[in-house]
Assembly symmetry: C2
Homo-oligomer: 243 residues x 2
DNA sequence: ACCTGAACACCGTTCAAGT
DNA sequence: ACCTGAACACCGTTCAAGT
């Protein structure tokens, strides 16, 4: 085996926290969470571990910074404080996060963890704020904003994470197998379950075939939006359905 | 330091997969996910790593088995296929998972991962089934059962995980500080945010003080139930509010 | 101030060897 | 069939030393 393409022996640009975080994101994207090691990082950056520790406190902080960078970019993608109605704004943010997690599957567990430390972690706050603003604009009274926002955020992160994992599983089967092969395998497994124990799963197994991931995801968002409208909004203030 | 209480040198009971999984759960409960190592397990069980590998394929399988055991117990707690109306049944399952995750905080990331491999992991299937059955009983048409069930499940797991992490953070502050101290710290952090960037968070900061975790969690479940009723149920078939 | 790289403690896993 | 325990490859982190 000849050595594959490798960074120049001596790095030209000076090291910086920003460059390290960027390298971490690249590594996470190409090799997954398990692939982010200080060894791989030092090779990628043509340096030693001590140099990285000079800019970054430890691996946890590095993961948090990588998460932060990617999510910030995703949330900034849609023009901030943009034009649409509150429901449209919520759908746009949801799709932005959905796509970001789809592109960077390692984000899902990271966000779930980050998000649970609500005290002051910046990513969690940014996401809550971005979803909470349109919830407020919807007319939800102060007493219900918390519940509504968290219901949306938890659904968004959970569903997006599952989608990303599914797609990663399809890719993991390698070429030859495509999406359909994977779906078939899932359907077969589900239909082999004991009908006495799993009536529900068996009932929906067939429908998974013509299942559009993005559409299904948005249907869930709309379901929760409908719940917000039904529970939290004074009658007459309809939330606005899809155009 | 004198050696603390330790298992007898020679174990009396024979090793078994069941005993190993049980020891793993105990270790996870007492020392968290990072505390589950083959070294600690080996000491706890008075054996060598090879013995454990005889019964269990690797660490991943052990974690999955531990998750499975705890969740199965939690889902079995409420009398299976119990009496209540479908919404009550959904609330009961939700609370059962909420409590299980509260007692075993390591479950949250584990379930999030497990759940994303929807193909055939037993825990994920069990949870989907347990939530899906009452969703179906609610009268949701087949086309909407998938969306409704996943919206519920993702919310339940996400919200329960966040709750567990928050409570773990409170415990982490040690005695002296209690829940109030932690909440105060969060409120202070939130109120120190730039009002231009974080109008929403600052708006709800005060309300976190008299926030009942369980009630808030159930309010989210009810919100989604209301959405299901509004979107999926033919008019006239109301979902049934709280008694 | 910023970087080097050897060294440390610890981890999951394997495997020849025992009973 | 079931268990032992030394050994292996690898990991995050530290730190004396250099510039």
């Amino acid at each position: 085996m000849t050595p594959r393409t490798r960074r120049p022996e001596r790095r030209t640009e000076a090291l910086s926290r920003e460059r390290i975080v960027q390298a971490a994101v690249e590594l996470l994207d190409s090799t997954g969470e398990a692939g982010l090691t200080f060894r791989a990082l030092t090779e990628h950056l043509a340096t030693g571990p001590g140099a990285i520790y000079w800019h970054v406190k430890n691996k946890g902080e590095l993961l948090a910074a990588a998460t932060d960078a990617v999510v910030a970019a995703a949330l900034a993608a849609g023009p901030a404080g943009s034009a649409g109605s509150p429901p449209d704004e919520i759908r746009a943010v949801a799709l932005g996060l959905f796509d970001a997690i789809d592109e960077h599957p390692w984000l899902a567990p990271q966000l779930a963890t980050q998000f649970s430390r609500s005290s002051g972690e910046s990513v969690a706050l940014r996401i809550m704020e971005r979803v909470g603003q349109p919830v407020r604009a919807l007319g939800v009274p102060a007493s219900g904003q918390f519940t509504a926002t968290f219901a949306l955020v938890h659904y968004i992160l959970g569903a997006a994470g599952q989608n990303a994992a599914n797609r990663a599983a399809v890719r993991g089967l390698g070429p030859g197998f495509e999406r359909d092969g994977y779906i078939d395998a899932v359907v077969t497994t589900w239909e082999a379950l004991d009908p006495g124990d799993y009536p529900f799963i068996r009932g929906i197994a067939g429908r998974v075939r013509d299942h559009d991931d993005r559409a299904e995801f948005l249907a869930g968002v709309d379901l929760i939006l409908a719940g917000i409208t039904a529970v939290q909004l004074p009658a007459g203030r309809a939330g606005g359905g899809r155009p």
